[in-house]
Symmetry: C3
Subunit: 320 residues, 3 copies
């Protein structure tokens, strides 16, 4: 039963898909991060390629458009020497009324080895993993408001890189938590890795009060929320939310929850500031912080390629 | 004269372009199918690549959008180790008023080795083959209502795979024959390969009565048409036709010409059901049939990659 | 100061970006053309690839759509064995309000090796080169009305190929000079390479009278302008200009400035006719000229691939 709900591990407990970080054993996460670490040095080489996925076909299935995320997976797959096929799903057979599972069955019949799936509906990558052929591996590249596990993993990589140990950390996640699959994946991972203090910080409309079951302490005041934090994870404020009734103006939001150098002084002196990008300068984050010495936003991007290479090579090496 | 109208064979009778199945010698077709058979095993390997087109540039020129067909050619070319260039023709120079032949001359001058052409106008791939540089090979990936020769070949591969011999078969093609380039290519191939009984089945608006010159027996009643058939080829019902005056509703169509398990019982017990995809469940085919034991729809997709690899490698190896 | 305004040369005078031909030393240009010459033979080989950029990631950043130019760079990069990533910028993060420099910083953090940039704003590739990480190389693929240096270089390659020596040539550039980045790049290069007579030919609205500072003699009469020319460079007449107030009809333009076989007789008997493409037959050029014996329009395309391979391999080999 558990296996059918979380079909990402085979009977030996090895990762065959990456669908969510929820319920993933701690040692599986560390194994991914350790593997990513070996790939980081690949970037420094003259020839930035390893042959681990040579002759494999990786399909980017982006039902929801995201050039940036697709690009990171495309680079990761090509550095593993895979053949990458980008499917422009919006213009393809699904538009002709084909069902999702028929599309997947067809692509599997082309001897696809891996699907990287971004979908607006929560759970779509699960559905695909449950129904695809046994030789196919699925990576969730973001589904609805549910999960964005590779972003969660690269965030964990970043924290481990700068802080070494998770066991004494205070991590503040700031912004639109209720709509954020990044926040959800981060919270699961932080809790699995043993972070003792996870905080959710933002206005009541974006940070509901009932996050205790997830082990998150809620703060509606930025100063309180970031006090003595070791790690600050800013979330992107979606423009479409701001124009809705949920929030006042971008300027108002910045005044209350935007991260400025002054507010940052409340955190630990060696704290790091993270952001999944793309950043809204002057909305959720001040340029002086985004470009400042605490910011690790660009290293996150670099780590993200290595983490995706790690995920893809690990799941491709395990059998269903 | 013949050579200029069907410029797909060189003076030694070797295939240099694939434009249509009409008039293709039987042994050329069997040679393609035999070659495809050797490529099928490539899919099973760890490294699914052969170096036959290494360093060759294959251009996908899709003047008419078709993500699925383009993808099959892209995979086939990459598994042959070619460099693949996808041209977004709708947004390119043709939109700036450049003529088709100027576009082709330009791409040839970039030392293209192969053009895979999908075009809304019947005959466009012929025009290209007649005017392109001698080092360039052309594959017709579907032109107007005229031909879809690689689909025809993969259908023949499928039939040969399951039925071994063409000489005693009854094949029923069901649906919108009048608008279908798939049907046209299938009919040519079946007749070249010696199938004694080819049937066209559908309403009068979609299956004209005068198909006798093509060697096709027309049936306007589904039960009569599939009786004792060895092979059933369903055609996709284009939604745009249904909303026109030609047909009643999708529900009506299904009642009369949709393939259900009950109707399928009229065919031979070991008959196979084929469909070029994407399928319209509940319109031309019942899910119980599409997913049933007679269905070979997904094997068709697998064979399609191997057949396209065969066509590309064969024509690239022959000189004009 | 000069270095910061023209950051394309390192302190050893080696090319690390290609942003403009203005101010480029003559020997650097000849080095590029010599290198391109060695790549021309690559096209003739069975395997049209060299491993010079193996494992490098080349990003095509086309902020302004140009399928043809993007394709030439994609082919050039793939023949150098690079991994090519095409970014659909119009649909990506910039659309989400990210700044140009944040986009560039992000892509650099993915360990990009080269950006090929087409942008509607003059100077955008300079801005990128000034701010990107030291390991990244930038090629200007056309910026606003400013420069199109690889087109300029392929034009110089073409002239050198057919005329051997620049020192005695008369070169007439005909058409919409005021809006043309191609004309600007050509004029800089011709003047650096020592062409004694550079002419700008066209109506007053498109060829201003004050081109003397650039060393260009202005002609508003086609017959005068092409008399005794060794080289004629036709420019494309943009349709959007014709519909504006600047010009009469396409037919009117052709009567006055269209290149016909009759007018071509005024030029030297061995003159060559060039055009950056795509051509407007019957607008700026008569088909009899475009397809005639003086036309070198298609060789330009072939040379263009080799020149882009040369530029990419040279800058990738030099350190900032």
């Amino acid at each position: 039963m558990l296996a059918s709900r979380h079909p990402q591990l085979n009977k030996h407990g090895e990762l065959i898909h990456l669908l969510t970080l929820e319920g993933l054993p701690r040692d599986v996460i560390h194994h991914i991060l350790d593997t990513a670490s070996t790939f980081l040095s690949v970037h420094e080489r003259e020839v930035k390629k390893v042959p681990l996925l040579r002759g494999k076909s990786v399909f980017n299935l982006f039902f929801e458009n995201s050039t940036r995320t697709r690009t990171t997976f495309e680079i990761a797959a090509k550095r593993l020497s895979a053949d990458v096929i980008n499917l422009d799903i919006a213009r393809s057979s699904t538009a002709k009324g084909e069902t999702l599972l028929d599309t997947i069955a067809n692509l599997s019949a082309m001897h696809a080895d891996m699907f990287v799936v971004r979908h607006g509906e929560s759970g779509a990558p699960f559905l695909i993993a449950q129904h695809c052929a046994p030789h196919v591996h699925v990576v969730n590249a973001g589904d609805g408001r549910h999960a964005h596990p590779t972003q969660g993993l690269l965030d964990m990589y970043t924290i481990r890189h700068y802080k070494k140990d998770f066991s004494g950390l205070t991590v503040a996640i700031i912004g639109d938590i209720v709509h954020s699959r990044v926040a959800r994946s981060d919270i699961h991972a932080l809790s699995i890795l043993g972070v003792p203090e996870i905080r959710g910080v933002g206005p009541k409309t974006l940070v509901p009060g009932d996050l205790a079951p997830m082990g998150v302490h809620v703060y509606h005041d930025l100063a309180d929320g970031i006090r003595d934090a070791d790690v600050i994870i800013m979330l992107r404020l979606q423009n479409e939310r701001m124009t809705g009734a949920m929030l006042p103006s971008a300027g108002e939001y910045f005044k209350t929850f935007g991260l400025t150098p002054e507010k940052l002084q409340l955190a630990k002196p060696d704290c790091i500031v993270m952001h999944p990008g793309p950043i809204n300068r002057g909305v959720e984050i001040d340029s002086a912080v985004a470009d400042g010495t605490h910011s690790v936003i660009l290293p996150q991007v670099t780590f993200g390629i290595a983490v995706r290479m790690a995920v893809m090579s690990i799941i491709a090496g395990n059998e269903a």
